[in-house]
């Protein structure tokens, strides 16, 4: 999944729920359909909730991988 073209990035490692998803959602709203957003987030609540909320809004989670320590990166394709 490394060959996905990333159109935008956002770092939400400093946010707490539900601001994690609020920031992600706002970023996705600025993008167009088919574009890919890379989200940097922390393990635990953000990693559990953000991908699920994103999918509930119809977007596609393309990839989730550990960056380092408890920091993860997820790739989201905007619907």
């Amino acid at each position: 999944m490394e060959n996905n073209k990333v159109n935008a990035q956002i770092d939400i490692t400093k946010e707490i729920c539900p601001m994690t998803f609020v920031k992600t959602k706002l970023k996705l709203e600025t993008m167009s359909s088919g574009q890919v957003l890379e989200v940097t987030l922390r393990e635990g609540e953000p990693l559990i909730n953000v991908p699920r909320s994103v999918e509930q809004e119809g977007h596609k989670v393309l990839d989730i991988h550990r960056e380092e320590g408890d920091v993860f990166k997820i790739l989201i394709e905007r619907c």
Partner: protein
């Protein structure tokens, strides 16, 4: 108790109502109500009760005002960010109506203090945002024989009910025997709420409280009212008292206040 000239003017619109009158207004001034939470639900509750001249209003909240509260928690203003919600609330309520004695509880409500708190009041209003507190209030009201005015919110939906278990009615546990398992489909969207929906349900909690104090009309006892703001539809279903209820049933297993823990992220009413 004699209404002062000023009170007669202040409460004239109540006094004009055949169901209220001077006698009803005096009942309100003598009443003691405990509102748990001064957030989305508690704000309109406390505002309307204070405006109505509800004599003693206890308010409990251990949170501080956060900027994300202001979209719906109408007791708190931008200048209040960082202040304890109880202090911010008391300031506004006393300005609104100096007749009202506002008593604040800034500490967390726990299994150890809840019964003592509830004991002091006639009616308890649940303006909380989590199941552990709802169960705690339900159980305390059951043991202390108090009426509980319950409200809850979810996005564009709200629900409302009055529990009078001491009069033989159902309790909150008859309706929700257990804390719904977390993680079924909880998502961040669950923290979303249209502010005015909180205002609608909270205002209806205030209405039920005033009816209860005045002893007029028909309370929403053993009934659950649900509202969907998107379709603006209201539905009322009957709540049946559960003979198997762990608290108020025939063979109760909950014989004293217990602690309930639930993990929660920053989601509040």
């Amino acid at each position: 108790m004699r209404l002062t000239e000023e009170q007669i003017y202040r409460y004239s619109r109540h006094i004009l109502l055949p169901e209220v009158g001077g006698v009803g207004q005096e009942k309100l001034l003598r009443a003691k109500v405990f509102c748990v939470g001064v957030g989305g639900l508690g704000s309109p509750v406390a505002l309307y009760l204070a405006a109505a001249g509800l004599g003693t209003l206890g308010i409990a909240d251990s949170d501080q005002v956060d900027i994300s509260n202001l979209q719906r928690q109408v007791l708190h203003y931008t200048d209040d960010i960082g202040k304890p919600k109880t202090h911010s609330a008391r300031e506004k309520l006393q300005k609104l109506n100096p007749d009202v004695n506002v008593i604040v509880y800034k500490d967390l409500i726990t299994m150890d203090n809840i019964r003592e708190l509830v004991k002091e009041y006639d009616i308890v209003i649940d303006g909380s945002d989590n199941f552990p507190t709802r169960y705690l209030l339900n159980d305390a009201c059951y043991f202390e024989k108090k009426t509980l005015i319950s409200g809850a919110l979810f996005q564009f939906e709200g629900q409302l009910s009055v529990f009078k278990t001491h009069k033989g009615g159902a309790c909150y546990r008859c309706l929700y025997p257990e804390i719904p398992p977390k993680g079924m489909v909880p998502t961040c969207e669950e923290a979303g709420i249209l502010g005015a929906v909180a205002g609608t349900i909270g205002t209806m909690q205030a209405v039920e409280t005033l009816k209860e104090v005045l002893d007029i009309g028909e309370p929403l006892v053993d009934k659950l009212l649900t509202m969907n703001a998107l379709s603006m539809s209201f539905n009322t279903v009957k709540i049946t008292k559960d003979p198997e209820c762990h608290l108020c049933g025939e063979n109760p297993t909950i014989l004293s206040i217990e602690e309930y823990k639930e993990h929660s992220c920053d989601i509040e009413d």
